[in-house]
């Protein structure tokens, strides 16, 4: 609220002088005794603040305290002393990871590259497919048939990551003396897409298949479910728009281009920006469940790299924290950048 001079002063006719207006006197009082005012408001509404406490404590203990532990990346970590008592070591871990050129450093760069590649492929393949699915759903006029298709395609979303990866592991597993290979590898070998020897060695043991398996299982799991939001945007289009386009002689492509696309563009933009914002939050659980030492070349991402080094018998928590620090800071910059663009480009801001 803007306050002009007229709000500060008022003319006292009896004395013939200007004096501070009563409203301003109240404002001055609040300003002067700000914390008293805060205290009174809190006491009056104490129940609200009481309600806030459990949630704030949960977030403080298990979201913000780990961030404090993350500062261990600037300290000499020895896994014995708490972070506050460790010696300061500056950027030595970062230098070690980025510049040392030893095997740890090359592993880190590999993990960084894999993180970007996996998420970029996810964006390229995982993002358009739900839109296409939604367009297809829109073609089905019968409600019952559409529900059946939708239920079938949402289905894989309801499995946990563990069950999904177990199923994937079993479907492409290696053959051995006693058991044959998984049914999907068998199928791929039969149609000649891969050689039987490669299929028999197990696709999950082969670094050149990890990315495909990761993306295809991701599409299998999420495409149907992700199409819901696009489908909702498409069915919101009024049928009269199509009719008008048809009367004007638009064929299907033209209808897509001039009716459907403009109507769902804002949804697409919002979803794309959300997606870019979470680009680096690779589901580490899924990678962890699918990879093995043979496929580290293409499968190791920063989180799993940190996990191996910080929680097992690796290079220590300081190194791991430094790796995660870099990943998370880049991730945060992406989120904030994506949001700023969202706010500028459309009126909808995400957070």
């Amino acid at each position: 609220m803007k306050v002009g001079a007229a709000d500060y002063l008022e003319f006292d006719k009896a004395r013939g002088v200007y004096r501070v207006s009563p409203e301003q006197a109240v404002r001055d009082d609040v300003e002067k005794h700000y914390w008293l005012h805060v205290g009174r408001t809190i006491v009056k509404d104490w129940r609200l603040y009481l309600m806030l406490i459990p949630m704030m404590l949960v977030f403080l203990f298990w979201r913000y305290f780990p961030m404090y532990e993350l500062l261990g990346c600037f300290k000499v970590s020895d896994n014995v002393l708490p972070v506050s008592k460790q010696l300061f070591s500056g950027f030595s871990y970062f230098k070690r990871l980025l510049l040392a050129g030893d095997s740890l450093s090359t592993d880190f760069w590999r993990a960084m590259r894999n993180t970007f590649i996996l998420s970029f492929y996810g964006l390229c393949f995982g993002f358009p497919i739900p839109i296409i699915l939604a367009l297809f759903f829109n073609e089905i006029r019968s409600n019952i048939a559409r529900s059946v298709y939708q239920v079938l395609t949402y289905l894989p979303k309801f499995m946990s990551t563990v069950v999904m990866t177990s199923l994937v592991t079993m479907l492409v597993k290696q053959g051995s003396l006693t058991t044959g290979m998984g049914i999907v590898s068998q199928f791929l070998a039969n149609i000649g897409l891969i050689s039987p020897e490669v299929a028999n060695a197990g696709l999950l043991n082969n670094p050149s298949f990890f990315r495909s398996i990761y993306q295809i299982s991701g599409i299998w799991e999420g495409a149907g479910y992700d199409s819901i939001v696009f489908f909702a945007a498409i069915i919101a289009i009024s049928p009269t728009s199509y009719e008008a386009a048809q009367i004007d002689g638009a064929n299907k492509m033209a209808q897509m281009r001039y009716v459907v696309l403009p109507s769902i563009l804002s949804t697409i933009v919002i979803m794309l920006i959300t997606r870019i914002g979470t680009l680096l939050n690779i589901g580490y659980e899924k990678v962890l469940l699918l990879y093995n030492p043979q496929t580290y070349v293409t499968a190791d991402v920063v989180s799993t790299f940190a996990n191996r080094n910080g929680m097992g018998t690796g290079a220590g928590t300081g190194i791991a924290a430094a790796a995660e620090m870099m990943n998370n800071v880049i991730g945060m910059l992406l989120v904030i950048g994506a949001n700023t663009i969202a706010r500028k480009a459309s009126d909808t801001s995400l957070y």
Partner: protein, 296 residues
């Protein structure tokens, strides 16, 4: 008015139906295969002759699994974590979201930022692990020896869900609250008698999100729960998978069914309960997706 489909529209319709059918079958096939493989005979599974329908039907793989006490243990642990975890998360989230939805709350912007920041920046796995280890020490010191409670209380909070709840509470017209206050309702009565009933569907959706993430929780349960009797189902499945896909450990397998059948049976058993409740929760799920668009 019905008009004839133009040729391009017809082509697109045909393509849609074909590709959708293919995709839907691809989505369905692994489940069908899992069921068939779990009840097929040993040689049929091992030599890959099961393609769609079961062969030499046997139910011993299921029998073996149902006879395993650890399996039932794991199931009950998962139910425990899901039930109490959802209750705890909903308790803290509803109270917090209600307070945050009030414009008269002082430092509201700060509190909101406190939440939203955790969506932008997370500490990462290793710092979280160190933090959970400390938490475990504290819990043990105050007498909570069961690590399941650690999973229930310390894990699984999501800022996103709280913001969904907050937005729903903000959508409740303030006149109704004022009317309740005039009638002498206290703050807690306003919440329980006005706000919760008026945002029932959002609450159901958010509870569902929490429940699903609890049911599916694997990584931290495996890291933090050392006692194998306390393992939830997901950890149990993973450990069995690791054990049963190790060719050396399985070389001495001499049951009448394939070792793979046990894994498939496990997978089927973990999906079936979800399939049973799926029709009831599906609409909330679809609703949750479209609730996006969070504003600060």
């Amino acid at each position: 008015m019905k008009r004839k489909l133009e040729i391009s529209e017809l082509i697109f319709k045909i393509i849609s139906y074909t590709l959708l059918t293919v995709f839907a079958l691809c989505c369905l096939y692994p489940f069908v295969y899992a069921i068939s493989a779990s009840i097929s005979g040993r040689s049929a599974v091992e030599y890959g002759s099961v393609v769609l329908f079961p062969k030499d039907v046997q139910f011993e793989a299921f029998a073996k699994m149902f006879g395993d006490n650890m399996f039932w243990n794991a199931y009950s642990n998962t139910l425990f974590v899901t039930l109490y975890g959802t209750i705890w998360a909903m308790f803290t989230s509803i109270l917090g979201a209600y307070a945050l939805s009030k414009r008269r709350l002082l430092f509201r912007k700060f509190f909101n930022f406190f939440l939203v920041f955790t969506m932008w920046f997370s500490a990462g796995i290793v710092p979280q692990y160190l933090n959970y280890l400390d938490t475990q020490k504290v819990f043990n010191a105050i007498g909570i020896m069961d690590d399941k409670w650690l999973v229930v209380i310390a894990m699984g909070m999501a800022a996103m869900n709280i913001i969904l709840l907050r937005n729903a509470f903000e959508g409740v017209p303030s006149e109704i609250e004022e009317a309740a206050v005039v009638d002498g309702a206290s703050e807690f009565q306003v919440l329980s008698k006005v706000y919760i009933p008026m945002s029932k569907s959002t609450i159901a959706t958010v509870a569902l999100f929490f429940a699903i993430s609890r049911w599916n929780g694997y990584f931290w349960a495996r890291q933090m729960i050392s006692n194998s009797n306390e393992h939830p189902l997901q950890v149990f499945i993973r450990l069995r998978l690791e054990e049963y896909t190790d060719p050396e450990a399985m070389s001495g397998w001499n049951e009448a069914f394939a070792s793979d059948s046990v894994i498939y049976a496990l997978i089927v058993c973990s999906i079936v309960p979800i399939l049973i409740i799926y029709p009831f929760i599906q609409k909330y799920f679809a609703k949750g997706v479209n609730m996006g668009g969070v504003k600060e």
